[in-house]
Symmetry: C2
Subunit: 227 residues, 2 copies
């Protein structure tokens, strides 16, 4: 009986990993569709989101069944409830990728802009946060999860910096205002991906350690040591 | 034993209602702080968010305790898992209110702008969606919840319309670009509040009827009749 439950938990973990990979890949492809002006790739991200939505519903059902039939306790209970939340956040990362891909479709129809920002740098950090969170989940490593959370500050700093730079750019080059605004929205979407990765990482710390770090590690209130 | 559990569920419901009211009020005040150029009110929203964060953690703990100690089934299980999700979304509505209040603090230091948009109209719909969702929760009324979801289209339409109008405004009045961009970010925050209200409403339908409508009612795929 116990071994059957362990198999079911392992199966849930596998599905959540597949979901995480799909969401992270959607993020990567959406950014590539902007940087390489690849509208085909953007369309793939948009269509591919339907599969991510289906995965979300499937994982949710799996979690509810486990809660109802197995009535888990302690760490198993925390794992399943964390899985439900991580699942929802991964789906929202997929939605952000769709938003970025939609902006790519608009931008790719118009002449390229030479902008004073490094979109790849910002996206790389946000998507690395997603990867680190997933790794923390696989290895049940709360230190790694806290590391992911802490990188959110870097993304927030770039968010402010790039939006200011784009503002100045818009003031100088008014015909480019429309296109620059698409980039501002993309930057906000990347910032949201970093926020969602932070949520995922917080849920991993909670699942592994039973400690809530949400709302508590910001402004240096929590160091990796204190977890 | 059963009556004690019922009391605990009623207590959870009361806490969730208090949380919903706090989040909705934060939204109202944040918009008022922009429209009435009231920086004191904006500061209240920002400080008040700490209490909303605390409420989130408290409700979460309450849900986990109920899952562990009561091992609920069927509708009770759906209620508690929906409560966990609704709780997280209400907290994020509070975060959006903070974002709007922060923009108000910036905008209120600079001369007012006469903009070609009706921010109040858009915010009213989004915050009405939050209220309708809460009402649907109190009365366990899935039809009301679906009504809330369906208003999301109106907010999305205004989002597109207002961003285009602000773009044109920026092209004509370049010294106002910085301030107009604050308004664009506020519009995106309002749109997020409507999205989060939609998530809450979806979870209410799931809790009451056991039906998943997420990803399924858009583009006219689901009418109020079919729920």
């Amino acid at each position: 009986m116990v071994r059957q439950f362990d198999r079911e938990l392992a199966d849930l973990k596998m599905n959540l990993l597949r979901m995480a990979e799909a969401a992270e890949q959607a993020g990567q492809h959406s950014i590539a569709s902007v940087l390489n002006r690849n509208s085909e790739l953007a369309k793939e991200v948009i269509i591919g989101d339907l599969a991510i939505n289906d995965m979300e519903l499937e994982i949710d059902e799996q979690c509810l069944k486990l809660l109802a039939l197995r009535q888990p306790l302690a760490k198993d209970l925390r794992f399943i409830t964390a899985a439900m939340r991580i699942n929802a956040d991964l789906e929202r990362i997929g939605d952000q990728a769709v938003n970025i891909a939609e902006r790519a479709l608009e931008l790719n129809q118009r002449p390229p802009l030479k902008l004073p920002i490094d979109l790849k740098k910002m996206a790389d950090i946000a998507l690395e946060m997603v990867c680190t969170s997933i790794e923390a989940f696989v290895h049940q490593d709360p230190q790694l999860a806290v590391q992911a959370c802490q990188r959110d500050v870097e993304v927030d700093t770039l968010d402010d910096e790039y939006i200011n730079k784009l503002l100045n750019f818009m003031l100088k080059d008014t015909p480019a205002v429309g296109r620059a605004l698409h980039y501002i929205i993309i930057i906000r979407n990347i910032e949201r991906i970093a926020d969602l990765a932070t949520n995922v990482a917080e849920d991993i710390v909670f699942f592994v350690e039973g400690k809530v770090i949400k709302h508590r590690y910001k402004d240096g209130m929590l160091s990796t040591q204190s977890v």
